[in-house]
Amino acid sequence: MADLRSRSPVLAAGAAPASAPAADPRETILSVEGLAIDIAGRNGPARIVDGISFDLRRGETLGVVGESGCGKSLSMLSLVGLLPNKIRVTGGTATFDGRDLLSMSTKELRKLRGGEIGFVFQDPMTSLNPVMRIGDQLAEPLIYHRGLSRAQARARAGELMRLVGIPGGETRLDNYPHELSGGMRQRVMIAMGLACEPSVLIADEPTTALDVTIQAQIVELVTSLRARLGMSVVWITHDLALIAGLADRLIVLYAGTIVEDAPVDDLYARPTHPYTRGLLGSIPRLAGDGTSAARLPSIGGTPPEPGRRPPGCPFAPRCHQRMPVCESRVPQLEPVSGGNPAHKVACFAARDIREAAQ
């Protein structure tokens, strides 16, 4: 037990925050370049994710935003070899900590998953095995990745339960998932994702199935754990209001492409892509007198199906700022001239929109 404690930055939480890994905070841990994913269909493969690129630095939180089906989850799952049948990566590179993810063997990927890259999934109600005690489920990755004995793993599982703020901590190890509330289960999921102290935690809409007060608790929990453990977080969501207080940087996905990539403050201060603006505009807001404003604006139309994407900008059919060029050429993701070079937008009208907004 004692050596376990001294080896583990998580368990030495009483110590100063200096116990976090002393790596260069600006070092890139995960780098994705031109990732493309295809799904096999009757009429040949259809492209779901079309060349997305991003870098994740140590300790950074990256928000990935977009509506359902835009490829947010798939691109993350593809990095660790968890794509469903018939869906495969057809292009691009992905490097994790200097290693090429896309050419790794199944066995190496398995070591990576849960060990160095942790996952938290959307639905805590169904993401835990209903016939296994929570303690056993928490212990599983520790036994497999860390080679702990069952007793050691159980002790560690109890500490993890405390770490994620489950009241009663290790006394809940013998509970079955159905005996816990949704929020508690999501804490257990987070504990599982963190069990082996991964350097990257991928949280796939972890708060979508929870009510607002619990959402806030989970966000707070992940933020505090990230600070304590010095890990990077990729937070997939469609909730722009939630991610604002959480992420360092946001990428906005639409129909499998990145349409906007910006530091979080810059994005909210100067949203540029019409899609991002549409998303932000459709967040409900209370008017000054406490009543809701007029009818909530929404983006008309639906995203194009994979395989039926327009030849030009994928958002063009739904876009109010559409110009003739949008229907024939695909805009590239690039900084808007005169703006923050870290704020990149894939839109021909970016400059006009920027100026009109000021």
Binding site: P84, F121, E140, G169, Y176, G183
Partner: protein, 320 residues
């Protein structure tokens, strides 16, 4: 170490953990028919296990002075044409029925779970092959297969036993009863596994895409662990129901084969061959037919009540 403040307002639950199984048990005990089935099965199991201590006579002991007697205090179910006590033979018959049912079902379930789980989880060619195998097996008439196996394998096996006996003089090789058993186990397991394989495959197909399986894969657990600890246990509910029904079916099947003379052969006691013997003289000695037939009926009803009850207890969503 202090927990994050966010957790403070949530209260502690004080109840002890309740497992899914205990929950199911609770539902089972409230179902009267199921309890009746459980009691019948329990009594039969008791008879089968403690048969030698309960039976008043040896099942082979003949009393030629007391042949074909009607039921009396001395012989509860009367005696047969060789003066053997029918009550004792029926109890030993329960032993036969249970041993056959349990061994056959166990073999069939193991084959079914392994093939079905592998087919469902890995899919592809393996799945096609396993499903093809179950279709082929199910398309062969049961009775025909058992007759073929018995008639083709039994004589050479018996000859080999005879030769071994002459060679070694070991009395083990003289007992022909267990050849019957081995053949019955083997042939019946061979025809009863496909439904289990199909059931498990279907369950695995639906379970393997559940979020907790993806979550387990995202934890990097090995495939075998995922199959054995995440998928198969969640398919267990339906499997238990199928096994409970399958035990009853296997008993009837054993009796049917023994009745036709391709199962357990006399002098080994089996309800099937007792019914077959009793049928010839039922007009004069109806008790010889009634005793094994009624017991077989009760056993079948017991297992099917229990199976239904388990189904309701383990799959409560289907219950109104």
């Amino acid at each position: 170490m202090s927990a994050p403040d966010a957790a403070a307002p949530i209260e502690l639950q004080v109840e002890p953990p309740v497992s899914l199984w205990r929950d199911a048990w609770h539902r089972l005990t409230r179902n009267r028919l199921a309890m009746a089935g459980l009691v019948i099965v329990a009594i039969l199991t008791f008879l089968a296990v403690f048969g030698p201590w309960i039976a008043p006579y040896d099942f082979l002991a003949q009393d030629l002075d007391a042949r074909n007697q009607a039921p009396s205090l001395l012989h509860l179910f009367g005696t047969d044409d060789l003066g053997r006590d029918v009550f004792s033979r029926v109890i030993y018959g329960a032993r036969t029925a249970f041993v056959v049912a349990i061994v056959v079902t166990a073999i069939a379930v193991v084959i079914g779970v392994v093939l079905g789980a592998a087919a469902g989880y890995f899919g592809g060619l393996l799945d096609t092959f396993v499903m093809w195998l179950t279709d082929v097996t199910m398309s062969i008439p049961n009775l025909l297969l058992v007759v073929v196996i018995n008639t083709s394998l039994k004589p050479p096996l018996a000859r080999w036993m005879e030769a071994r006996y002459l060679e070694t003089l070991d009395p083990i090789y003289r007992n022909s009863i267990w050849i019957d058993f081995v053949l019955v186990f083997g042939s019946m397991a061979l025809i009863t596994w496909p439904p289990y394989a199909r059931l498990v495959r279907a369950q695995v197909l639906s379970i393997r895409n559940r979020p907790y399986v993806t979550a387990a894969r995202a934890l990097g657990l090995p495939t075998l662990t995922i199959l054995m600890r995440y998928i198969v246990p969640n398919a267990l509910g339906s499997l238990i129901v199928a096994v409970s029904a399958g035990l009853g079916t296997a008993m009837v099947l054993e009796s049917a084969f023994s009745f036709l003379g391709v199962g357990v052969n006399p002098p080994a006691p089996s309800w099937g061959n007792m019914i077959s013997d009793g049928l010839r003289v039922w007009q004069h000695h109806p008790h010889l037919l009634a005793a094994p037939a009624i017991l077989l009926g009760i056993a079948t009803v017991g297992f099917s009540f229990l199976g239904d009850g388990l189904n309701d207890a383990l799959n409560p969503k289907g219950m109104k």
